[in-house]
Subunit: 316 residues, 2 copies
Amino acid sequence: MIRIGLDMMGGDFAPYEAVKGVLAFFESAPQDTHLILIGDEPQIAKYLSEYSLSPSLYSIIHASQVIEMHEHPTKALKEKQDSSIAIGFHLLATEKIDAFISAGNTGAMMVGSLFSIKAIPGVLRPTIGAYIPREDGSLGLLVDVGLNADCKAENLNQFAILGSLFAEYILNINNPKVGLVNIGEEEGKGNLLAQATYPLLKENNQIHFVGNIEGRDILLNKADVMVCEGFTGNVLLKMAESVHDIVKRRNIDDEHFNRFNFEAYGGVPVLGVSKPVIIGHGISSSVAFKNMINIACKMIETKLTEKIITSFSTIS
Amino acid sequence: MIRIGLDMMGGDFAPYEAVKGVLAFFESAPQDTHLILIGDEPQIAKYLSEYSLSPSLYSIIHASQVIEMHEHPTKALKEKQDSSIAIGFHLLATEKIDAFISAGNTGAMMVGSLFSIKAIPGVLRPTIGAYIPREDGSLGLLVDVGLNADCKAENLNQFAILGSLFAEYILNINNPKVGLVNIGEEEGKGNLLAQATYPLLKENNQIHFVGNIEGRDILLNKADVMVCEGFTGNVLLKMAESVHDIVKRRNIDDEHFNRFNFEAYGGVPVLGVSKPVIIGHGISSSVAFKNMINIACKMIETKLTEKIITSFSTIS
């Protein structure tokens, strides 16, 4: 039995979109999954009562508080012990749930991931990536996209391993190609960080390194895992998101650009922490919630965390 | 009389597109401009003979060598003294021409700018920006886009001044808004460089600083001059360029996205060097060449270089 904790109070449309996501998830008939819905019980129960969902499929755990989007992460987590996010991390740390998902305060989710469940031994810095839609219909992974604004070469080398394992087990990409985001194709190009990272990636036998990739390659499939520090990654991701906004504003209906709707993907896991945690987009839709629950299931089924632990125990 | 030197051998379609660009430039009936066409004289003369251009409008200066796109910049400039780029910088340094334009080897153009004509006193690092098309039809400037992959806060502060003067005099933007490319809106956000740069921009009374801008704001008009180090800027620019490729591939015909054809803009000047130098895109079309000649004229007419010299003499 897989037990997944879901913060029902996270996201701009809480808890309605989360409830719809739960229903959509169960419609796809998953086997042996129990959802633990964390949040305002009366509200959740009221929404759920409109549908005929078997009570055996879920439990509700009441949270009297909510960490709002604008709140200071560390302070809020400390002061709001009865918030849905704090309860979620408590349940995860005490093994009452196997994974925790929230589309709430991103900072609080990151602080919770790093301090209540901690990094896997050997992982210097956990990371968070983003899906990048490609024209062939597949998804790539850009990593890091903002958790680590300043990085050392060793961090990027670890992001490459973490991203490769995610691409292999969750995105089903066999022997994923790893590219270093850079400003030139040849070895030796780039800023000091990229120059220092290239040889580490080249010598890393846990990944399939294909060399440097440039900005024009990010939206193509030259590499499946695209590695950079979180400053560049975040700015790139947000620019790509804005392309979707512009496309919509200009009434362009194109199958590929429609896939630039990053909200639909739900969230991405925090990679390198000791339990599955998925952080969703603030404007997560029901589809996003459903996708996040599915990704959590897949992380558990494929034992991604264990695979990461094994990888990093080999290194150290 | 404005004398503009044009490298006819630069770009993938040399010298044909350059010749067509020269013709297009003179069709728009500029006043008092003489073009000095540098390159293989027989070839240039042959192409020009097909058109009835008054010989008083141009001179041809023969160059027996060409620096190819793949050559090592410093080495090539040193060894190929009779190349069109080497001759161009020689003419510029000795005041035989007032501006020099090339769509040839970018590295050689940068090396020539920095070593044969030098930075303006007070400018720590010259920079190169790129036009960013906005939905309202105007252009913004992203600076730096690759000349300076590693920067200090002082460099970014100077790019803001250089970019503002360019935006004001060449893009005709009154009191241009300067934004710091960052991963959060509030002061204090970002990597160490952005955190150190913010207070410098805030206190800089030569610019109109509007705060941080995020990746999603780059393609909008939140800021006219968008400042970042050359690593992030280059990756962003190349991603934006690739959006145009994807749009074309998908047969989308949209007025705004058509303006993502960065080749059409020609080139951008190297900002902060003591004479006007414009570096073009390798695949520059005749329109690009025409635009570059027009920008060079405008730089000379508006005395942009003198304005920059004055700005930096005030600082130091």
